[in-house]
């Protein structure tokens, strides 16, 4: 039933209906509302049997999940930003051990400077960890992806991360259908582990593997990710028939049929991008949008096909590789290396900077005139940058840039949006 719900609440209810047996939590904005709500459902007995464990760090949160999953329990946790980085060793370990843990990542920037607002730096930091990473465009999709995530993870024995934009989605209230228990049960069978710690059938999990087999082990996990490329669309289709709506899949195209310019992006920004695209089409530009849901595994073929007709591809990223540029862009470039098109990277929305339709339209207008440089930083205040650079040039002890800039701006939070 459609209800006007906060994104975090919708995710929490949906996760609960996936019947996790162990949930552990360490609070970090903007993930808090999710685990608070799950915790309440466990305490009230609405979610049972389930052990809700308040741990002392994200590192412990993932470690507890590892132990629980290896013991045959369906395990769930959620984190963001610094929290993800603090648990990163365990994140890799969970994937290496092939434990189908599902984790919500409420995407948030990484400090310093410390910043609690949304971008995708955290997700990108664990891009190579062996987890499947699915990006939600809306809160509805965020909720739905969790159901598919448990199914996918347990089928393949691979952990899955559902990425949803911090605050923008987690704290947004909108009409969402949190699927009911019967429907979820029908879609998601009980967890049957590939390996389990059982005193009656003892095994040793987590052996040390040397050069003689390590590469094979890694290659096998690569093959599992390739399997995921098959399973993700299949599950999305199955989900669509079961729940009557499109959620998940590898990617989604919008008005790309005749598009000359295609914007590629991840997550919630796609909504604004679509509005901008519509506006530009009214101005006579043929603009389309491709939203990538499955960032890992990265659907090279699907992306290639989706972009095949375009002359320009603009990748809008909420993260970037300092010292290089786009992260998603390199993947898109790999997908389209033999296509004859110009690829532009736009870094936008870092640390919660609002990505406005106005800016996007201006950007597209420039692109239409081929005035877009290979790497663009949307709404970058060059004046501030220059001021700080000259300050740095002038005196060695010019102080921390972030504080200097805030002083220049005399800013307040409300202005940042």
């Amino acid at each position: 039933m459609l209800r006007q719900l906060e994104g975090s609440r919708a995710v929490a209810e949906t996760v609960a209906r996936c019947r996790p047996e162990v949930v552990c939590a360490y609070p970090i904005s903007p993930q808090t509302h999710i685990i608070e709500a799950v915790g309440a459902l466990v305490k009230s007995g609405a979610l049972a049997p389930c052990e809700f464990i308040n741990v002392e760090s994200e590192f412990a949160a993932m470690s507890v999940s590892i132990g629980a999953s290896a013991t045959g329990a369906r395990a769930y946790t959620a984190t963001a930003s610094q929290g993800l980085l603090f648990m990163i060793e365990a994140v890799y370990n969970a994937a290496g051990l092939g434990l189908p843990i599902v984790m919500t990542l409420a995407n948030r920037a990484i400090g310093a400077p410390i910043n609690i607002w949304n971008d995708h730096s955290d997700a990108m930091a664990v891009r190579d960890s062996g987890w499947i990473q699915l990006f939600a465009e809306t809160n509805q999709e965020a909720a739905d992806l969790h159901i598919q995530a448990f199914r996918l993870a347990e089928e393949l024995s691979v952990p899955v991360m559902v990425c949803m934009d911090g605050f923008i989605l987690t704290h947004a209230v909108e009409g969402i259908d949190a699927p009911d228990q019967a429907a979820v049960d029908a879609f998601l069978p009980p967890y049957e582990p590939r390996q389990v710690l059982d005193p009656n059938h003892p095994i040793s999990i987590g052996a040390m593997v040397g050069p003689e087999a390590f590469e094979e082990v890694r290659y096998l996990s690569y093959l599992r990710q390739l399997d995921a490329l098959e399973r993700i669309p299949a599950l999305a289709a199955e989900f669509a028939t079961a729940f009557g709506r499109e959620s998940g899949g590898l990617l989604r195209s919008y008005r790309t049929e005749d598009a000359e310019t295609i914007v590629v992006a991840l997550g919630s920004v796609l909504g604004t991008v679509k509005d901008a695209a519509d506006a530009r089409r009214e101005a006579g530009e043929r603009v389309g949008v491709v939203g990538i849901t499955s960032f890992r595994p990265f659907p090279l073929d699907a992306v290639r096909d989706a972009l095949s007709g375009a002359r320009r591809v603009i990748v809008i990223e909420k993260a970037f590789s300092v010292g290089f540029g786009g992260v998603l862009s390199t993947d898109v470039a790999m997908a389209t290396h033999d296509a004859n098109l110009s690829l532009r990277t736009v870094i936008a929305g870092l640390g919660g900077r609002a990505i406005t339709q106005r800016s996007l339209e201006a950007l597209l207008a420039d692109a239409a005139k081929d005035r877009l440089s290979p790497l663009t930083f949307l709404d970058l205040d060059h004046e501030i940058v220059e001021r700080e650079r000259s300050r740095m040039g002038a005196t060695r002890r010019s102080g921390p840039s972030a504080e200097n800039i805030l002083r220049d701006l005399g800013t307040v939070a409300s202005k940042i949006g």
Binding site: L97, G98, R194, P202, F214
Partner: protein, 542 residues
């Protein structure tokens, strides 16, 4: 469950395919070493083994283990000077194991329960003449019977036992115990002829058609010295004193008795004198206490009973009821020298305890027998000469104790058996001695020795009741369990437990252990942690 993931997950126990034994440069090897108690026992008892059997309370098997070698546990448990305890490694930890008292406990238990000795062996058709019914003669007779040989045992005395009966007072060795153990031997089918003194060995041998002879005539002649004495002065020798007491015909000694000598017999004589009513019993000895041949504990018992000592003194002369003593001093070699300084000692009688000699007149005419210092030279098999005449006990050169004599008897019996079957007696190779430094005593808990009760002094001075009592079963068991099993595995499971590689295989009760060389890395922990030193490391041959 479906197949676990490749490499990161493994099937249990698969490491047994990895034979880490190849790392080894030394291997652990189980050994048996000679325990000092066994090493020190003149009767050749396997002491450690019978203690081992006694530890769980299996007393009869323990007793049977003793009588394998020595048919006199009850007697030994009383009069043996237990060199086993002197040698016992436990003495270096706290106190020696009370082996002697456990042996007596087992001996008495056997008498109480009427356990019989192992039966005589299948008749060999051979007959052996044993001359002398003392410890060595009886021991020989016992072992010969077990070997199936016929035995005629002759003795000049009216009763069997020799010195055990006529040389050792009843308060040390009650006659009931002695008789019981002698009767058990006789019961094996030993022919006995008492009050018969053999004067011509060759004659008797051919008369009786004996295949061999064992001479165990002991040393019955008291050694005498010329002591100037008045007619009224009463002088007698210790042996006849003890002999007459043993036959209930005690001589009159008076109230003040001096005993001349420093051996055990001197002590026996003095203590006997007290029991016959002497108020003063004074031992006159020309050396000091340190140089006294008598056993320490008996001297203490004597002193407790009121015996006094005149160290560094010799008897110069005996005038009426006055004994004139001369003071001595020890020279650098420790020999006593006269000082010329005289002193007096009132005495009604003087008992000479200067040792015994052997009467070997019966050997006159025997060919190729060597007699030197009044005793018979014998081969390692106890044979004197070539023609089947064997000798043992006090009649041959060695320490003159009952235990030694019993050992001789056993050895002679085996020698005779070998002689009769045309072979020669060969000893199995002796194991290396299990010295204290080979032990890891940590594993033995603190346990002080239990001592035997002693008769209160009043009764000891007036009666011939046995002075030293026996152990209760609990004490005997406690004492037996103080044994450290030096040099021989007692299956404590230490090696099995402490091996970090599970490379010790436990073969089951009585079967001990085996090293699993597939996995033994040769760390040597089992050797270091073996309490009794029954494992050693040996280099691998590479």
């Amino acid at each position: 469950m479906n197949k676990p993931p490749f490499a990161i997950t493994l099937e249990v126990g698969s490491s047994r395919a990895n034979h880490t034994g190849s790392w080894r440069v030394e291997r652990a090897v189980y050994v048996d070493r000679m325990p000092p108690c066994n090493d020190g026992c003149p009767a050749g008892e396997n002491i450690q083994q019978w203690l081992y059997r006694a530890e769980p309370g299996d007393y009869e098997p323990a007793w049977r283990q003793i009588v394998e070698d020595n048919p006199f546990p009850a007697v030994m448990g009383r009069i043996c000077y237990h060199p086993c305890e002197t040698a016992c490694n436990r003495a270096q930890l706290d106190e020696a194991v009370g082996i002697n008292s456990i042996e007596r406990f087992l001996g008495d238990l056997a008498i109480e329960h009427g356990w019989s000795l192992p039966p005589a062996g299948a008749p060999s058709g051979k007959r052996i003449l044993v001359v002398g019914g003392g410890p060595s003669g009886l021991s020989a007779a016992y072992h010969l019977r077990r070997l199936g040989h016929g035995v005629l045992l002759v003795d000049s005395a009216p009763q069997l036992g020799g010195m055990m009966r006529y040389g050792i007072p009843a308060y040390r060795l009650p006659r009931a115990s002695l008789d019981a153990e002698i009767d058990r031997i006789v019961a094996l089918g030993v022919e006995i002829e008492l009050d018969h003194t053999v004067t011509d060995i060759e004659h008797e041998r051919t008369e009786g058609g004996f295949d061999a002879v064992f001479l165990a005539v002991g040393a019955q002649l008291a050694r005498r010295v010329g002591i100037p004495a008045g007619d009224s002065s009463r002088i007698l020798d210790a042996f006849s004193l003890l002999h007459r007491v043993a036959e209930d015909d005690p001589p009159l000694l008076g109230r003040r008795v001096a005993i001349y000598g420093g051996g055990d017999t001197a002590l026996d004589a003095a203590r006997t004198a007290r029991r016959l009513g002497a108020t003063d019993a004074v031992i006159v000895y020309r050396r000091n206490r340190e140089r006294m041949p008598a056993q320490g504990d008996e001297l203490n018992e004597a002193i407790e009973e009121g015996i006094t000592m005149r160290w560094l003194s010799t008897v110069n002369r005996f005038e009426g009821d006055q004994l004139i003593l001369e003071k001595m001093r020890l020279n650098d070699e420790g020999f006593p020298e006269p000082t010329g300084e005289l002193e007096e000692l009132d005495a009604d009688s003087l008992v000479l305890a200067l040792g015994q000699e052997t009467d070997l007149s019966l050997l006159e005419g025997e060919p190729d027998i060597t007699i030197s210092d009044g005793v018979v030279e014998v081969s390692p098999a106890m044979m004197a000469g070539e023609n089947g005449v064997f000798a043992g006990g006090d009649a041959v050169p060695s320490q003159r104790t009952a235990t030694v004599a019993i050992g001789h008897g056993k050895r002679a019996a085996r020698g005779i058996d070998a002689y009769l079957t045309g072979g020669t007696l060969t000893d199995p190779p002796r194991h290396e001695l299990a010295t204290f430094d080979l032990l890891n005593t940590w594993y033995y808990s603190e346990a002080d020795r239990t001592h035997r009760p002693e008769l209160e002094r009043a009764r000891r001075q007036s009666t011939f009741d046995e002075v030293v009592g026996g152990l209760t079963e609990e004490n005997a068991l406690f004492e037996a369990r103080r044994c450290m099993s030096c040099g021989n595995c007692f299956e404590c499971d230490n090696c099995f437990g402490v091996c970090p590689d599970n490379a010790v295989i436990k073969l089951g009760v009585g079967q001990r252990y085996e090293i699993d060389l597939d996995f033994c890395k040769g760390c040597g922990m089992c050797v270091k942690e073996c309490p009794c030193g029954a494992i050693e490391m040996v280099p691998e041959q590479i």
